[in-house]
Symmetry: C2
Subunit: 382 residues, 2 copies
């Protein structure tokens, strides 16, 4: 099982190392999402070159296609996708539930992009687990804590996550508490999971209860649930961090925009996973640093499809050392994007993942040099 | 202007060098197509690693988007697409005509894949040139020999092609002769073009006339026109090669399957361009060598989407040294293909372009060692 060590602290921010069977993850770090066993448009050697240290794969997608048993037969997910670094898997619960809950409550914003394509139909939640229909062929599927752990084991995951119930942001206190208690029972059945997931919605006492519960039962703390807004998110992080062991790694599930990285690392978060860099790339949204005009208002991005970049000789970001910025102009990227060329996706994703990977690296260095506040001020000033 | 030198001959097959301002092209060679200034799913460094020495870009597509004047302003196509090797451009005529002629005559097979997406509407052919409507915005466009040469110059092409009229395979002798004479007048107006294009349909005297005409007026011979079947194609090559200077390079436009490479090089062809490797990759059709089961019947391909590859641990081709074959199984490629992952396109295209590039390299070596017949027999036996 993975082992965590803190090397340096600066305020609540920490620099550490998470050792896994497939190598060391320096923290704070960002984990790009490879839903179906592939980080969109990037090969494993691209990931290495970019500096990515760990990828996340989705249990829900891989159990349905190509199937975790097949992947196991083929030597596990590392060999299947030819990635010899650490792999984190989620429990599958988020995918199965989020659509059911989200559709019911009309809170589509909850969903990651992958979920909007993959539409499982939630049939029933029981004490045992959850039954649903595959979005691929309508076949009846069941996911339980035990089965989720078995799938993650079959995949050969380095960082596994316990099976949890997902509360809706529209749930009241009683509903949220009920959901949390089910999560606790399911997490206890998720034997061998590295991360337990904290829940409790926006309710302080439930969040504290959940933090303590996960801290007591798991080596790693994963902060879960849907977050109404950034203020609530930061509040939840503060409640949680204050109630878990200092020496355990803290992973914030599904979050990872530029602003979040600074504000959450400052509050003691060590790890992030998020589809933002890959999804943004596909939509023409490319990260830029403050020196290139990036700020809170534009989410540190430009929209490359805009006509104003038609003749722009500059790289996406003048201060970026990624392959795309070292070799191509905004004009070329815009052309590829508008023309629908596949190479656009490769170059845009390369840039965005490099940008975020490199930013967390700079943040690590800043924490080590006790310069985190200075770096944050450089980026987050209005 | 490019210069051609023959290094070795074995029968009609030759090994040579085509020197351009952007480097030497060893012949025989295969030129992958980068229609819109990008070889589908491959970056320039991918192309270099694969061993590609020259790429072809389409005048028709680039004149319309992003525009040849813009590309000129941005430093030319080499800088725009960050490819410092040789670039060949076509004249734009094929694209403009082929749909007009092909639609009229119902010979859709003529069209390259790119044309089926990009649908110019042909309005009028006059002595001056051709007017058509852009497939992008319906705007009225005109292409003349002079304009085609200007566009190719603006792009910074190393190997330009004269503007020609395209005959239909359904044209009779008189119609074909009429078209050929228009081609001759247009080619004479295509000042500075490296390649003249031969036409004349399936008519021996017209093909000989065209071969002699192009030989007299251009440094390079490009064999053009639509080809009814392989037998006719080989016949046309024989008529043409017998009537052009030995020391001039011979480019067969738009052809490049495995079988063609052997049969056409054997008849004296030096260069090929074709969308087959990139298009096939996108459709799940991946090249395999005879040792992996490739033969004339399956066009030296397997269809990776077939369920029989679901658990196949082998690489696409056990004897291939491309990045895809060195790192991934058929099972993974099939998964990416079926799941619609962008990485599939990158890996599949890498393999197919490497496969063909490496095959022409082997053919070059075989000719140098007077072993061409032996290599051909290894591949083309039934």
């Amino acid at each position: 099982m993975a082992q965590f060590k803190i090397l340096h602290k600066s305020g609540k921010a920490r620099v550490g190392q998470l050792k896994t069977a497939h190598g060391v993850i320096e923290t704070p770090n960002f984990i790009p999402v490879g839903t179906q066993g592939s980080v969109k448009a990037l090969s494993p050697r691209d990931l290495r070159e970019i500096g990515v240290q760990v990828v996340l794969a989705n249990t829900y997608h891989l159990m349905l296609r190509p199937g975790d048993q097949l992947i196991k037969k083929l030597g596990g997910l590392h060999q299947f996708m030819s990635w010899d670094g650490p792999i984190m898997t989620d429990s599958g619960g988020f995918q199965v539930f989020s659509l059911g809950v989200a559709l019911e409550h009309g809170v589509g914003k909850l969903l990651r992009e992958e979920e909007t394509k993959a539409k499982p139909r939630l049939n029933k939640i029981t004490e045992e687990g959850v039954t649903f229909q595959s979005h691929l062929d309508g076949s009846k599927q069941i996911l339980t804590p035990e089965k989720s752990m078995q799938i993650q084991t079959n995949l050969g995951s380095d960082l596994t996550v316990a099976f949890d119930d997902l509360e809706s942001p529209k749930h009241n206190y009683e509903e949220t508490f009920k959901s949390l208690k089910l999560t606790e029972r399911w997490e206890l059945r998720s034997r061998g999971a590295f991360y337990g997931v904290t829940h409790g919605g926006i309710f302080k006492d439930l969040r504290i209860r959940s933090a303590k519960f996960v801290d007591q039962n798991f080596p790693g703390i994963a902060l879960g649930g849907a977050h109404k807004d950034k203020k609530t998110l930061y509040q939840v992080i503060e409640w949680t961090v204050a109630n878990v062991s200092e020496e355990k790694p803290r992973h914030l599930l599904g979050i990872g925009e530029v602003e979040d990285l600074f504000n959450c690392i400052e509050r003691g978060i060590d790890l992030f996973d998020c589809v933002a860099p890959t999804r943004r790339a596909r939509n023409g949204s490319l990260y830029i640093s403050p020196k290139s005009g990036g700020n809170l208002k534009n989410n540190f991005t430009l929209n490359i499809s805009k006509s104003k970049y038609k003749g722009d000789k500059n790289p996406i970001d003048n201060w970026c050392n990624c392959y795309a910025c070292q070799n191509f102009s905004r004009a070329y990227l815009r052309h590829l994007c508008v023309a629908g060329e596949i190479l656009y996706h490769h170059l845009a994703t390369t840039h965005n993942v490099y940008f975020i990977t490199n930013l967390v690296k700079k943040i690590r260095e800043a924490i080590l040099n006790n310069q985190f506040g200075k770096l944050k001020a450089l980026w987050l000033t209005d």
